[in-house]
């Protein structure tokens, strides 16, 4: 019996790998399993080689593995690029009639995708369903009812014939795998009841949904992978929830639009990736200077420049921490899984308005494009807290936007209040918001803007800790690396090496870290992150008592995995 299986679905862009992995993931989710899907794709519309990697497990899973138990190769290039990633006892499913490249090796199973698809539904496009069936056969899992349900939802708009053809194709795929091999990776049974409250959602949707549920009213953005899908989520919901969304001419416009809307009293957001964020930076300091709430989502991908556009990295932390000229306060948050995406977004909007600062939500391609199984019972949300926002102000033309008597965060009046005007200024300004040349005011205003950080700290969450109460090894991670690093800590504990994971989603400002484990046995703190230099390790060493004896870093465009981290510990 297998408790944890990894299947790679590989082929040229446009061949439908994602539809196979979606059908499998959703079927197993509904049957009570935990699933996780990551997309390893090239930057092109057709051709090349993309792989959709799905992991099915009886335990919660938020990361991928380096190797495949099963590889479905939809074309020759898929075999060439991925055959070596198949485990020694694994299987490679391919169409021996169409993909004749080299001598088949042990564990290669030919399933005539095209022929069976044509027979089942009369349409070559149904090879995806044949392949799905072949995987189901190897897993020996009785999920056909769930699979039929998913296919019905996917294709019912195209007519009953398409639905029945695809179901026939799945069954043909199951039958094509010989009985001796069938059920080779028999999945340990689970209870269907486990699927109650479970959803399958990708990181982008979790963030978009989090923003909408936080009361987002204005979104401006310029398309850039891997952030575009957040914008598309909001676009699809804009009418239903009264959100204004506009595709800006560039990222400079996008952030200035969002700041204009933020000044005017609505919750506003823009999302981009590192290169687009480079263009936004003067806007970040505008938000800092004018004390305008704005949420900026940055979905990281490997840089510099155009970099590795469709791959993943956590390489823009330093950029986000230091972006913008001058000193001012900011907040940086980074969700761990799709389950906490909504909470992170709720917090981002609340902190932006409460402290009148730019708030960054840092994710990455791995986070945005991966589908997570989420237990809704574990999803936490934060109610709307708009801080000191005012719709009206007593008196006549006496409101001061940057009133110093009110502390570092002045009451924020929404423009349009009767007999009051609101001046916001990118120049150094007076309490009223007019341009000033006063050195004395300058110092007071800088202290106000930058000094907010000391107040924000009180709202920042401590890192979470999982693992041994008396660890020898403490792994430290941030944002989307959670799943892989948690799994690495679990592996260490399972092999009798006491370990724990200290994970951060509230990145900046950092509170004084309170460790919830016995430190006496700790031999080493190790920071694992998805970049070249260890940007988060640097941040922690500069600002906390944590010191790292090693950094485990990955910057090949792939996400961290438990094997990679454990390998790094041994090396």
């Amino acid at each position: 019996m297998t408790k944890d299986i990894t299947v790679g679905i590989s082929g040229a862009a446009g061949m439908g790998m994602q539809s196979i992995s979606f059908t499998l993931a959703k079927s197993f989710l509904r049957a009570g399993y935990n699933v996780f899907v990551w997309q390893d794709v090239m930057s092109r519309i057709r051709g090349g080689n993309n792989t959709s990697i799905i992991r099915i497990s009886t335990s919660p899973v938020n990361s991928i593995k380096e190797e495949f138990d099963i590889l479905v190769a939809l074309d020759l290039l898929a075999i060439k690029r991925n055959a070596l990633k198949v485990k020694a006892d694994g299987f490679l499913i391919y169409d021996g009639e169409k993909q004749r490249a080299e001598e088949p090796k042990a564990g290669w199973i030919s399933v005539p995708f095209e022929k069976l698809a044509a027979e089942a539904g009369g349409d070559k496009i149904m090879i995806n369903s044949v392949a799905t069936g072949a995987v189901l056969a190897l897993l020996g899992a009785d999920v056909i009812t769930e699979c039929e349900g998913v296919i019905d939802e996917l294709f019912s708009k195209k007519g009953a014939e398409v639905v029945s053809g695809n179901i026939k194709a799945v069954k043909a795929g199951i039958a094509a795998v010989t009985p001796g091999v069938s059920g080779k990776f028999m999945l340990a049974p689970t209870l269907k009841i486990n699927s109650k409250n479970k959803i399958l959602i990708n990181g982008s949707d979790a963030l978009g949904l989090g923003a909408v549920s936080a009361g987002l009213k204005f979104y401006s953005g310029y398309p850039m992978s891997p952030a575009t899908s957040i914008m598309e989520y909001v676009a699809a919901k804009a009418r239903e929830y009264g959100i204004v969304l506009e595709q800006a001419e560039d990222e400079i416009a996008a952030i200035n639009m969002a700041i204009g809307a933020g000044y005017s009293g609505v919750r506003a957001m823009t999302c981009t990736s590192g290169g687009g964020f480079a263009l936004m930076i003067e806007g970040v300091s505008l938000a800092g200077m004018t004390e305008t709430p704005v949420v900026i989502g940055i979905s990281q991908r490997p840089g510099p420049a155009t970099g590795f556009p469709t791959r993943t990295e956590q390489g823009d932390l330093n950029m986000v921490l230091f972006a913008g000229h001058g000193d001012f306060a900011r907040v940086v948050l980074a969700p761990a899984t799709a389950a906490d995406g909504p909470l992170i977004m709720n917090r981002a909007f609340n902190l932006a308005e409460k402290y009148q600062v730019p708030v960054f939500v840092l994710s990455d391609q791995y986070y945005n494009d991966s589908s997570f199984s989420v237990d809704l019972a574990e999803v936490r949300v934060e109610p709307v807290n708009r801080g000191g926002v005012l719709a009206e102000f007593p008196g006549s033309y006496n409101y001061k936007r940057y009133d110093l008597s009110a502390g570092r965060v002045s009451p924020r009046l929404i423009p349009g209040a009767k007999n009051q005007v609101v001046y916001a200024d990118s120049d150094e300004h007076t309490e009223e918001g007019h341009i000033t040349e006063s050195a004395e005011l300058r110092v007071k205003m800088v202290d106000k803007r930058a000094g907010k950080l000391a107040e924000i700290v009180s709202d920042m969450d401590q890192p979470v800790y999982f693992g041994s109460e008396k660890p020898e090894t403490v792994l430290v991670s941030w944002g989307s690396s959670f799943g892989a690093v948690k799994e690495a800590a679990d592996l260490l504990n399972a092999s009798g090496k006491p370990a724990g994971l200290l994970h951060f989603t509230n990145i900046w400002p950092l509170p004084e870290i309170k460790l919830k484990f016995n430190e006496s046995a700790v031999k080493r703190f190790i920071c694992a992150e998805n970049n070249y230099s260890g940007q988060f390790a640097d941040l922690l060493e500069k600002n906390t008592k944590l010191r790292f004896s090693r950094r485990i870093l990955r910057y090949d465009g792939h996400p961290l995995t438990a094997e990679y981290i454990v390998g790094g510990l041994e090396g």
């Binding site: 005017s264 004018t290 423009p415 001046y423």
Partner: protein, 286 residues
Amino acid sequence: MVLASAYNSTDDNAWCPGCGNFGVLQALKQALVSLNLEPWQVIMVSGIGQAAKIPHYLKVNCFNGLHGRTMPAAFGVKMANHKMTVIAAGGDGDAYAEGGNHFVHAMRRNPDITYLVHDNQIYGLTKGQASPTTGLGAITGTTPFGSVDIPESPLAVAVAMDCSFVARGFAGDIEHLSKIISAAVKHRGFSLVDILQPCVTFNKINTREWYKERVYNLDEEADFDPSDRVKAFSKALEWGDRIPTGIIYRHERQVFEDSVFESGAGSLSRQPLVPPNCLDLMRKYA
């Protein structure tokens, strides 16, 4: 009834004595009074430059943002407060150089915003460098051997972009300019008012007298029809011995707000924030 004095600002004015901006300020004040708008009903958005300081010298809501970024900030402001009057202001460098891309796309969107561009054909606040409208051969701090780049014709660009209201005013004719600004604010859609504004300190070519000798009022041309785009385009290009002022092009087309707000809907910023339930949104992924 709103009095002009209601718009008086307490802020110190930083413009040079005799600056053309004073004429623009006066004309704008008169226009706001004639439109019977209270100061709190108006939001001005500006960039950076001497012209962009104008909201400080009025009493109005103001977002004084970054150089060149006036249009996007104004768009965000308008979307949150579409029931308010939004007027943007800045100079020729702000609007046509740093903000050139935003200017073009603002016209495509056609939000109900009036854009006053104080066009003095020079960079003033940075002390005398060439701008996108500086004349060919003009000697400035950055063009010591004469400007080589041909000047942009912002009005022709606007007509080409099918901007829904295109006008030119002259800071030396406050009465006419005030009428143009009133008409621009009243017009539903994006309105460009390019204002010839003498810079008394750095532009010794395009002086008040230079403009006075050349400008004429389009109202005096009986057969001119501002709804005719082709004629408007040739008027927009007219520059030299005679320079037309007045409304060059005007037509109705869909205003951006009409594509997102139901008619009669109040401003987004004035509505209670009642977001949808997060778990309800998530359940759709079961």
